[in-house]
Symmetry: C2
Subunit: 341 residues, 2 copies
DNA sequence: ATAAATTTTTTACGCGCGTAAAATTTAGCT
DNA sequence: AGCTAAATTTTACGCGCGTAAAAAATTTAT
């Protein structure tokens, strides 16, 4: 690790007494050389400080070891968490992940894809913006680069899709709410950013009807990715105008719920399942912050680990040649019972 | 933009009728060629789909256009937000930023620096882990790569330091709390992750003494970067054992405050400045989430824009040869009054 | 021990672009 | 128009490594 610096592979070949092409093979895949050779190289790496020049490496290689990870909004801890998880898995598998965020902006997402193209990645893990995505650009990109879509599906694009089973999410938590109190109203954005929201609304309606209740959907205005503020403002409006027909509110996602909780606080409405509480609020996503709201938020959580593992493994297999037909994998979530509902 | 693909610069030279060396100059810096030539090249770029191969580009260039951005924990929205801000500034200035997170782990921070080395970046914007950083590794890195330290200072390392004026932060908010109610106790981690926390404690003590009050510091156990949980558990302990000598609590940072608010909720302690409230809680940082706590958190906010602008500009100047002596810039924060205090 | 299979070495070329130096063209100015 | 300064073209080499092919060495099997 420490030791005198070596300028290039040729010099390292001389110093270590191993031919350059063999070293090249080693750095490309350590298991591709005989075990005895490998240990000789590793011993030399201890003595000398040498790392291959990544630019020269990637220049002629048909396939780099780069993997791009793209999320719609890195400042959302949910995406930050899943990105971290994916990043670690890529490193563990010997790839070089690079993190990108579309920052909730269509044009930026397209730019990220452009940047990604020039990185010549072996593969890409992409969570699209959703409704705001430039679908043609996505399609063109997927045709060029092996891309696995996660979180938010966009038709049958890319290698496969891995995400959560939104229908199960909403059905499950709706069922819980119905069994433990008044049936819930559904609180959502009128023009949600991604298709998961539509699935959740539909699942809510279907679940309510199957339980013999009348679904009540409250859709509030608001554009963009500032969900908390949309939830807060929408919450104020809904509370003031008594749009909620029952004392239980299921939010389309946790960030909206967080905003609604703030609105409730600001209107002096007590939230929780206690006798002294006026309404119950539940979210969906298992957002990292949901534990720390007041009251702590009852929600149904993504299986972060399973989603990222499934996505990563599917991409690795595709990169390594194990092509399988397009498939959609949707993982179940887990109900997290807290004080808010 | 759209049009037939061109394989390399030579082919693009033929197609556009402009010599390859001139194109090379153009792609390195568009303003370095005559305006008429520039517009001819830009016209050709509209017709043909060509982007220089970044690997070939960076192979021989003494200085790449890469800039590394390193934060200690990307899943903390505060760092995510400042990283986003820096990223945009780099792009606007014609650089290629790459985002890294140390994920709160010393070994990972060292690994990130290793990875960064092989990227041969023109410069790096680095927010160190702080106490957990491997200072020798940081020093060695800074000696090799132009590095601007931000957020959390580590001796006189790198080009310069840009961050917030923690003394001003704490003095200002302590003053506010003293003027509007009982003087605050100070709530912090016993072994904080970064040096800013020490400055804040000291500034609190100094401020209290200068106002003629007795400082009361409550330090709670807890390791790592799960500040909310540390604040919640420590909050329970402090409330149960009546460690707070006044009804006002100034937290070392917002995430700790968020955890404390949850503890208060769980113990049925009403927080706010109303008559019916038992205690007041304030934070420090202007965390993106602080608006949505219940009650919304009174805090003193970093000047995100100014910090990132100052940091970015300082780095750009250094990269472009305008070397100036090491300097520490600490920017003032702005008090944000909300319901919690 | 000998042949066969595998691995390593030798040799050699090319990737796409940066960059230097000299020759040539173009623009700016009186 | 004529001159100078600046920009562009021509020519040519090199960066560090991937990779192919053939020769040599090593390991494994018989």
């Amino acid at each position: 690790m420490a030791g005198e610096k070596v300028r290039n592979m040729e010099e390292f070949a001389r110093m270590s007494g191993i031919s350059r092409p063999t070293l090249s093979k080693f750095f490309n895949d350590p298991t591709s050389v005989r075990a005895s050779t490998r240990s000789r190289i590793e011993a030399a790496l201890e003595q000398f400080d040498y790392r291959p020049n990544i630019y020269a490496m990637n220049q002629n290689r048909k396939l780099t070891k780069n993997i791009g990870i793209v999320v719609p909004l890195l400042s959302d801890p949910y995406f930050a968490e899943i990105a971290r998880n994916l990043e670690q898995r890529c490193i563990a598998a010997g790839y070089r992940p690079t993190l990108f965020s579309s920052h909730g902006d269509t044009a930026l997402e397209v730019e990220v894809l452009q940047t990604l193209r020039s990185l010549k990645p072996a593969g890409v893990l992409l969570a699209p913006l959703g409704r705001a995505s430039d679908n043609k650009a996505l399609e063109a990109f997927c045709a060029e680069v092996p891309t696995l879509i996660f979180d938010s599906s966009v038709e049958e694009i890319g290698l496969s899709f891995v995400g959560s089973d939104n229908v199960q999410f909403t059905t499950h938590i709706t069922d819980y709410l119905c069994r433990t109190g008044e049936p819930p109203c559904f609180f959502e954005m009128k023009t949600p950013a991604n298709p998961n929201a539509h699935r959740r609304r539909q699942a809510y309606i279907a679940a309510m009807e199957s339980f013999g209740h009348t679904p009540e959907v409250v859709s509030v205005e608001g554009e963009g990715w500032g969900f908390e503020e949309i939830g807060r403002l929408g919450g104020h409006e809904a509370l003031t105008n008594k749009w909620f027909s029952t004392n239980t509110i299921l939010c389309s996602n946790d960030r909206l719920a967080i905003g609604l909780l703030t609105a409730c606080y600001e209107q002096g409405v007590r939230v929780g399942r206690g006798q002294d509480c006026a309404i119950r609020v539940a979210g969906q996503d298992g957002h990292p912050h949901s534990r720390y709201t007041c009251p702590p938020l009852t929600t149904i959580s993504h299986n972060y680990d399973a989603v990222s593992q499934t996505a990563a493994i599917a991409l690795f297999l595709a990169i390594e040649g194990q092509l399988s037909p397009w498939k959609s994998t949707r993982l179940e979530g887990q109900l997290i019972l807290r004080d808010s509902a």
